[in-house]
Symmetry: C2
Subunit: 478 residues, 2 copies
């Protein structure tokens, strides 16, 4: 078997989740646990936790899948604006949802994406620079496959990657034989980026380890950290990237999940253009690729696997290579493409469909806002646990102080101490957290990642179970 | 840029398609061509060429996308059996189409796939051995990524691959740094497999080139060849694979596209089990992975990107690695998963929905049957062109004798002679063929691949244009 494959790890669906499946099977067999149901806080999968999909979006997709309804559905069953929108998508594929589209995705959806970006940033965007992908993950993998070279002489291409990071990046680097060049986010400064730290990591990788560092990955808002970068931090990163010739991979899939006012989401593309890196033809001073997804935000449409990447300052040659790689999979799925169109081009004020859309959207965002605060507050009441405010994204990433006893038991079992904690929280409280070791953390520190996605009416019992489980763990490991 | 990426080629969407897009743009600008529309015969994309989707399938998907319809749609708008089926799919994901499913795919769909395989082959199949993927391509890439090792010492892992082949295999091998070990299909014997040829290729690769040959890929029914293997040929391949310890990759995505009676489709799994390789726990004598897709057959649901792979005789360790790789993409898209369920579990005789389903299915298959014959007959009337009967799949792969003049011009332009022919056919007749050189062919021979997917009422004009364009090419290159 390929060693890179066996060496790859992906914590979000790792040992703790496996253990939860075993417990679920045992519960089904009548075994008793101190809880009646496991609460999965390991993954940002909102609709699995009762978040409803948006009516307008699903009406459009339903109509696209069975276009006869465009003419035969009785009045009142579908919003007329949904009918109109579905008619447009079906027409523009010349054949509907069943066709292979252009390998970059449907032209009309890419135009909607470009219009969204232009409107968001106040700078122009072009449909021919947009690729529609199966979720953002597929785009990240395509791009990294192009960027990272196989080095025959033992040297390696590398990528500056935040610690902690979403393990898609570490896993993809391992699979491609690339080197993860870590830069530590600063927990004491709301998990912000330190330019000094970046410079130092870069110098160590280049000078001491002989790594050819090709790019820098930034996740903003942060996964797993829940942080949001300031515009100044973004500008600093861009200047560094230009200076050091690093491709910027901006993972901005949580851009609609921001839970405070001081640091609104600002895109790398906007800051780049504001700084004058407008990527006119032939200008490759800054190479930036930004990612977005239908899976997060207020839609949480994970299952349809919709995503896009926008190329900025990337040469036509590289774009052609990306296109070729994309064409090996023929195209991304059409439901995901349409969902992306709907995400970037929702009902507008003045549209008849806007009222219901806005009501559904705001209900979800308002509730997420409350839940983010509820969860971080509760975590901060736990003995030995400390949590930054959840400024964005769908996660908290608290630090936990583990006793020598806990660390010794973990060591005996050959697992990281935070994984031991998470396994114990699963057994004691029926709660699935993801160990911080799966994301990376400063040496000697322990963390776990948790979502706040269960519905609000389940929060009291969930928080109760977390508190009780944690207290019992701490007592037994004093 | 990664060299493996730049070295990769994928002919189905290569230079001829690029040229067709330029012509289309020029036509839109008012340039005159000897045709009013380009006919795309380069890709098996049936619904782009007016093949309608099946009503039952699309009703179910439409209902799954907007489950409110399950209760609110007026009687008569949807088939009650479609409503029932949609209810099942929505329920089994516990959250509907918007959730990340198990990374292997929904349990209930995998059970439908296992039941289909068991029924087809008369041998048991297990849902836990099935992975649902975005089309079959994604599964092929996952598997090959696991199989092919990075060899530090300059040696390479390789895979026996038919020539001609579908370029997904050559491209994936290039990307993974694996070696394509060619075995030539025998054009004079209906593009059949020769075991002697296989043994010789294997010996040359192992002994002369030092390649560690890990597996053998078979496409049956054949792409691009349109061939169907006999049961005896399949048995011979399986015996060889066991003897030589080769993983069998059985690409069987065209299994429902068979256009003659003498050689019905028989799966590798069935022949393997008939031979006693039943893959009891711990029995890994034969390692076989079979692929299927929603994109072909009579459904032609390319855009939803549905596919599966079934593991047979593959160890739990390797399965765990495949699962990990799949989990990096979280899951395949839910519309594709549901479509796969519908494909393997269509309305049955006795169901109320069966009559319409069978009528739609048979209309498509009967017409394909006629078109396959029409096309190969027409090709055989062309000067210098010879075509095997199209026994299966969606393609003909005729051989063409090109004059010295044609070959010299191609050489001057630095392109393969069959690519030159295809580019000329595009200019002269507005027809998109794919050059044989993109699939591989015996040295000194020239071919092209063509589908027969345009609707029957367009066949007279299409065949007329092919004949006229070809005649004019031959005249100018005599």
């Amino acid at each position: 078997m390929n060693k890179r494959v066996t060496q790859t790890s992906y914590a979000v669906r790792g040992r703790v989740l496996d253990a939860s499946m075993r417990i679920q099977a045992r519960m089904a067999d009548g075994h008793k646990y101190p809880f009646d149901q496991i609460i999965a806080l390991n993954i940002g999968n909102p609709q699995a936790l009762e978040q409803p999909p948006l009516t307008f979006n699903r009406q459009v997709l339903s109509l696209c899948m069975y276009p006869q309804l465009l003419d035969t559905a009785p009045p009142g069953l579908f919003d007329p604006e949904a009918v109109e929108r579905a008619r447009k998508y079906v027409k523009c594929t010349s054949g509907g949802m069943g066709v292979y589209t252009n390998s970059q995705g449907m032209q009309s959806v890419r135009e909607e994406v470009a219009a969204f970006i232009a409107q968001r940033d106040g700078h122009p965007a072009r449909a021919d620079r947009v690729f529609l992908t199966n979720g953002a993950s597929e785009g990240v993998k395509l791009l990294m496959q192009c960027m990272l070279r196989e080095m025959a002489d033992g040297h390696a291409d590398g990528m500056l990657t935040p610690i902690p990071q979403y393990p898609l990046y570490s896993a993809t680097l391992t699979l491609l034989g690339g080197r993860l060049v870590p830069y530590h986010l600063v927990e004491g400064r709301n998990w912000g980026v330190s330019i000094e730290e970046l410079r130092e990591s870069l110098a160590v990788a280049r000078d001491d380890d002989g790594v050819c560092v090709r790019g820098i990955c930034i996740i903003n808002p942060g996964n797993p950290t829940g942080s949001v970068l300031t515009e100044e931090q973004i500008a600093d990163i861009i200047r560094l990237a230009v200076e050091e010739n690093l491709v910027v991979i901006a993972d901005e899939v949580y851009q609609a999940n921001v839970w405070q006012q001081e640091r609104p989401f600002v895109s790398f593309k906007k800051v780049a253009c504001d700084l004058g890196y407008t990527a006119e033809p032939g200008d490759h001073r800054l190479q930036l690729v930004s990612f977005h997804s239908t899976s997060k935000g207020y839609m949480g449409e994970c299952g349809v696997r919709g995503g896009y990447m926008e190329l900025h300052g990337i040469s036509d040659d590289i774009k052609a290579q990306l296109y070729k790689l994309a064409s090996l999979s023929l195209c991304s799925n059409t439901a995901g493409q349409v969902m992306m169109g709907l995400m970037v081009n929702p009902p507008k004020e003045g549209d008849k469909s806007h009222a219901l859309f806005a009501k559904e959207r705001d209900a979800i965002l308002d509730s997420m806002f409350r839940r983010a605060k509820l969860l971080s507050d509760a975590l901060n009441t736990l003995e030995g646990v400390s949590c930054n405010s959840v400024d964005g994204a769908l996660y908290a990433f608290p630090t936990i102080t583990l006793s020598k006893k806990a660390r010794d038991i973990a060591k005996e079992r050959g697992i990281p101490a935070d994984e031991y904690y998470c396994l114990e929280m699963l057994e004691r409280a029926g709660i699935i957290f993801v160990p911080g070791s799966g994301f990376g953390q400063a040496h000697g520190t322990y963390h776990f990642r948790t979502t706040f996605l269960p519905p609000e009416n389940k929060f009291p019992i969930m928080l109760e179970r977390i508190k009780a489980g944690h207290a019992s763990f701490m007592k037994d490991h004093a």
